[in-house]
């Protein structure tokens, strides 16, 4: 146990780092295997891939020497997906009806459906979090999430309307409120989590990033108008550098500060993430994605050379004329591109972020957790429900 003990008055404070022992390579090969198995199973293996991924993250993350355990199964996810379908089918008929209509009714209809989706998105993400927490164990004790997913969805929906109306200025208030709702409803055994952050926690970084962005857009517009577009050549470059820079700066600060406001009884979480580490990860992601696409392009080119002869793959018509070979190649290219995109995002962005949070995290006062007792038996959740069908981005 590598805890650093410091003496502060009479209170002995221990800081225990969180450890992460997984490697990108290990995740990569597991994912490759999972993706390949998704082909003969027509995509259904994705529930097994999700479960495997969580086992990888959970079991490789250890707190004070003990790893997290993920006890969810793929079948639970599959069942949850089937439940979610029941909600989506009626929505499909609404979509179909709208697509055959003309005029203002379509706009109003699509707006209502979009709002409904956004609302369901909040519901789904809360239910998904509940599913994951209630299947997470540490030292033999389960986590849990209480609160009401509909209440959370309503909260998120109303806040986001306010954020929209204030051109984003209300965002720190929304963020703090939602973090508080999530964490005050999170339990480890019989002990309740707490969240001490307020809008002020992220106000500084947020409004700085916001102001930078506003000044940048204003300056670009101003210069563009004055010079009649002549000086606009450098604009995209400037926008990318400042835009991404602001984003990484903000994301690193928000993650660090918000996670550092999380507490469990007297134990506190501390997280420190560097913006440049996030930027480096994004650079690695972009680089590897480029490499992957170059490889796919080369392989595609070679295969085309081999079977080419009478076929012409430069147009849809040519592909159609090539018959099954053409369809096979198009499908293969499509699946390979899809797999490359998602593999690189998983390995460099998602895994990278988890690694940064885990390795940047320490826990103060962890010994207080040794008295936590198991909570009451949780209501069984059938899968993540909508989260399986709504493509809610999360681990």
């Amino acid at each position: 146990m590598s805890s650093i003990a410091t003496l502060l008055g009479n209170v002995r404070i221990t800081r225990v780092p969180v450890k992460f022992t997984g490697t990108r390579a290990e995740l990569f090969w597991r994912l490759v295997r999972g993706y390949l198995l998704m082909i003969p199973t027509l995509g259904l293996y994705r529930f097994w891939v999700t479960t495997m991924k969580r086992q990888f993250y959970w079991h490789n993350t250890s707190i004070d020497g003990d790893a997290l355990e993920y006890s969810g199964t793929p079948l639970q996810l599959l069942i949850g997906f089937l439940f979610a379908l029941a909600i989506f089918l009626p929505l499909y008929f609404v979509f179909f009806y709208l697509s055959t209509q003309v005029g203002p009714v379509v706009l109003v209809g699509y707006a209502v459906v979009a709002a409904l989706f956004w609302f369901l998105f909040g519901y789904a993400s809360y239910r998904g979090r509940d599913f994951r927490l209630s299947r997470t164990l540490w030292r033999g004790i389960r986590f849990d999430q209480q609160g009401n997913a509909w209440a959370y969805a309503t909260r998120q929906f109303l806040w986001s309307m306010l954020v929209l109306a204030t051109l984003g200025l209300a965002y720190p208030f929304m963020s703090a409120d939602l973090w508080r709702y999530r964490y005050t409803n999170t339990w480890y055994g019989d002990r309740q989590f707490g969240f001490t952050g307020t809008w002020r926690t992220i106000a500084g970084p947020f409004y700085r990033a916001y102001a930078t962005f506003a000044v940048l857009v204003g300056a670009l517009l101003g210069v563009g108008l004055l010079t009649g577009g002549a000086a606009m050549a450098a604009a995209p470059f400037l926008a990318v550098v400042l835009g991404f820079g602001g984003f990484f700066y903000y994301r690193a600060r928000e993650s660090s500060r918000m996670f550092s406001e999380v507490q469990l009884g007297t134990a506190r979480l501390r997280v420190e993430i560097k913006a440049r580490a996030l930027a480096a990860q994004f650079a690695a992601y972009s680089g590897m994605l480029t490499v992957a696409f170059i490889i796919i392009g080369l392989v595609g080119y070679l295969v085309t050379l081999l079977v080419q002869g009478q076929f012409d793959f430069t147009s849809l018509a040519g592909i159609a004329r090539a018959g099954w070979i053409g369809v096979g190649l198009a499908l293969g290219g499509y699946l390979a591109s899809l797999a490359a995109l998602s593999l690189m995002a998983e390995v460099y962005l998602d895994c990278g972020y988890w690694m940064l949070v885990a390795r940047g995290a320490t826990i103060v006062g962890i010994e207080s957790l040794s008295t936590v007792r198991a909570g009451s038996e949780d209501k069984s959740l059938a899968g993540e429900g909508l989260a399986d069908a709504l493509n809610v981005g999360s681990f």
């Binding site: 027509l42 849809l316 018509a317």
Partner: protein
């Protein structure tokens, strides 16, 4: 190597880790796994061997639970001599995870079989279903839909200015086209009144909208050399109108979206992946629609006395284009496969009737209308 098996023990009641030593005993009739504190030697629990199971997962550590203990009760042993020995001493250890894996495989196989039958039903059933579902859609609904599409397309073609079709409504060319369209549609019991519009545009394309609207671009008209070619393309597009292919496509693509969403797990179909996948599948159905429209044009040619093979000639001609506009041209929506060409050429022309689709004067006025 330690002298006795040691591991970590969590009782599932309190969040405390204890280092323990393990021993197997058989004195109570059935074998038990005795868990004792490593330092104090105090016995913490006895797990009946029958109820002990191994937890599947990642890593090489042996992780055990017990069926009649709290949910989170765990015993973990690092990989090594002792974990191997324990596995040998308790052969039933992996039974539970084996059973679970077996069950998972069966469910996965069942789900895949179900999905395969859904896809098969979709591939073979949806064209038929979409056909009968289309007949349930009131024509007035389809006309309204076509009207909306017309406004959008004309706004796009007008490019910011007011949209203008070639030739006035009562010009000789347009009257001849209207007459021809009415002749083609006669006797089809189609609820739609055809309306053909010739549009000034460099694209070599022609298409039909739901509800009876047909567009023919001047780019294609320039390449059209004979009245029969023109008649063939128009009859083909009117075939789409009569068969209500626009409506059918709408129904089919909705079904495709549902299916692709199911396979990719993104029911919103908002991702590029889902959209691309759906397009790939939909193109299959559009080929079938082209066959139907070709057959319709062939039948119309037989009835009215023009050669439907001219349609194939024109498609072949446009197929040889190597311009940039090609991907947007006729072929992208009307791919000319060898098979399709053969089917077109096999259409017989009734020899008795040789009346041309348009008189020379009419055809000249059409050629020069843009």
């Amino acid at each position: 190597m330690e002298m006795e098996p040691t591991g970590r023990y969590y009782d599932g009641l309190v969040a405390a880790r204890r280092y323990v030593t393990l021993a197997l005993t058989r004195d109570a009739g059935s074998a038990e796994l005795i868990i004792a504190d490593r330092d104090t030697r105090e016995e913490l629990d006895r797990w009946p061997v029958d109820s002990v199971f191994e937890l599947a997962g990642l890593g090489d550590d042996l992780r055990l639970g017990a069926a009649d203990r709290p949910y989170g009760a765990r015993l973990t042993l690092p990989t090594g001599e002792w974990s191997t020995a324990l596995r040998e001493a308790i052969p039933g250890l992996g039974r539970r995870s084996r059973l679970e894996r077996g069950q998972q495989r069966r469910v996965l196989a069942g789900a895949v079989a179900a999905l395969v039958s859904v896809i098969a039903a979709y591939v073979f059933g949806v064209p038929v279903l979409a056909d009968s579902a289309t007949n349930l859609v009131p024509p007035a609904w389809e006309i309204r839909l076509g009207e909306g599409a017309r406004l959008q397309i004309e706004a796009m073609l007008g490019n910011g200015r007011r949209f203008e079709a070639c030739g006035s409504e009562f010009s000789q060319a347009n009257r001849a086209i209207d007459r021809f369209a009415a002749e083609v549609m006669a006797g089809t019991a189609s609820p739609f009144t055809p309306r053909v519009t010739i549009v000034r545009s460099p694209l070599t394309n022609a298409f039909a909208l739901p509800g009876g609207q047909v567009y023919y671009f001047s780019g294609l008209l320039e390449r059209t050399e004979t009245a029969d070619e023109f008649a063939g393309v128009l009859a083909h597009e009117l075939g789409h109108v009569v068969h209500r292919h626009g409506m059918e496509m709408l129904i089919e693509s909705s079904a495709t979206g549902l299916l692709v969403g199911f396979v990719l797990g993104d029911m919103t179909n908002l991702s590029v992946a889902a959209a691309a996948g759906a397009t790939l599948i939909d193109s299959r159905f559009s080929r079938e629609a082209e066959h139907e429209a070709d057959a319709f044009a062939g039948a119309a040619g037989n009835r009215l006395g023009f050669s439907p093979q001219a349609l194939a000639d024109l498609l072949g001609l446009v197929a040889e284009d190597t311009t940039m506009t090609r991907s947007l041209a006729l072929l992208s929506t009307h791919p000319l496969t060898d098979e399709r060409r053969a089917a077109l050429e096999a259409l017989e022309v009734a020899p008795a009737i040789t009346r041309p689709a348009f008189s020379d004067i009419e055809w000249q006025s059409i050629k020069s209308m843009c």
